[in-house]
Amino acid sequence: MEIILRSTIIYFFLWAVARGVGKRELSEMTAFELILLVVMGDLIQQGATQEDMSMTGAVLAVGTLAMWILVFAYLSWRFRRLRPVMEGVPVVVIHNGEPLDEVLAIERLTLQEILEAARNQGITDLAEVDIGVLEPDGKFSFLQSSGRSDQQGSPEKHTG
């Protein structure tokens, strides 16, 4: 019972962390953040299984996390109003070719990141973009005037 409770608490904490750090951080991973992620995994393992060294304990912990993932996915699918809370909402960052500075500031995005994401999609000028969207998973989607839509993976981190 304990291991299930501990795994449940850790799941909700990790979910809160993932929702709390913001979309941009979700999709970016510097070398340092990668190391932090590995360290977090180790700390989480100790918190969840403590001194339990059995396979049964490991399966219980992983099974609990998997079950909560399924529960969240179901709730998000079944109850539309929960979806923004559980998964976040897409945010328009470019409208009619114009970067929305206030939105960029709120999401801690730089223009350089937007430009790089656009370049990765073969877009040479933001004027070609009708709408640019920062998706809940931290990826960018660009809807172009031609009707062509592109989505790109994780943007590289820039300073400034």
Binding site: G63, M67, L70
Partner: protein
């Protein structure tokens, strides 16, 4: 231009959706999720340990009760504690024997209170506790299952020896160590 014309067409579209196959896959996923739910429910109910059980017996003027784990897992603290009761206390002390092999699965931290004397007699460990005015002697064994032990059943017997040196009362116990 010629090279462009020679290019082989490699369509990237996926195969048409096979609805019956998707339904079968969904059924498989549901069966898996149901099995996972049952597994977790049993875990929440303590089915996989640590599950504590009691055994007791009386004889020769002694009452002996033992709390032990019927199921445990590697690395976990596992209870093993006994009480001996006798009206009038134990003016001459009390001697108990226990199957030595049972403790092979444990990382031992110690017995409390420590016996005045401990000897091993073949398959048995003999503990002699000094005189006490109390009617009850409570002894607990502080231990964890060794990490490398799994899928093992450890079993043994605990006896209180009477004045004639023979077991006056005995309880049996067994602990299954989950993988």
């Amino acid at each position: 231009m010629q090279a462009e014309a020679d290019r082989q067409s490699i369509p990237t579209q996926p195969a048409p959706t096979d609805i019956p196959r998707q339904i079968r896959a969904r059924t498989g996923r549901r069966v898996f999720v149901a099995a996972l739910g049952v597994f977790l429910l049993l875990g929440a109910l303590g089915f996989y340990g640590v599950r504590t059980t009691s055994a007791s017996a009386a004889g020769g003027g002694y009452e002996l009760s033992l709390d032990y784990a019927s199921v445990s897992r590697p690395g976990l603290a596992t209870p093993w504690a006994f009480e001996v009761r006798r009206a009038g206390g134990f003016p001459d002390g009390v001697t108990v024997t226990v199957t030595s092999a049972y403790f092979d699965v444990f990382d031992e931290n110690g017995l409390g209170p420590a016996p005045a004397e401990e000897t091993a007699d073949g398959d048995l460990t003999v503990w002699r506790f000094g005189p006490t005015a109390s009617d009850t002697l409570s002894v607990s064994f502080d231990a964890r299952i060794e990490p490398g032990v799994q899928l093992t059943t450890a079993k043994g017997e605990l006896s209180v020896l009477g004045p004639d040196g023979r077991p006056a009362v005995t309880v049996s116990f067994r602990t299954f160590v989950m993988p």
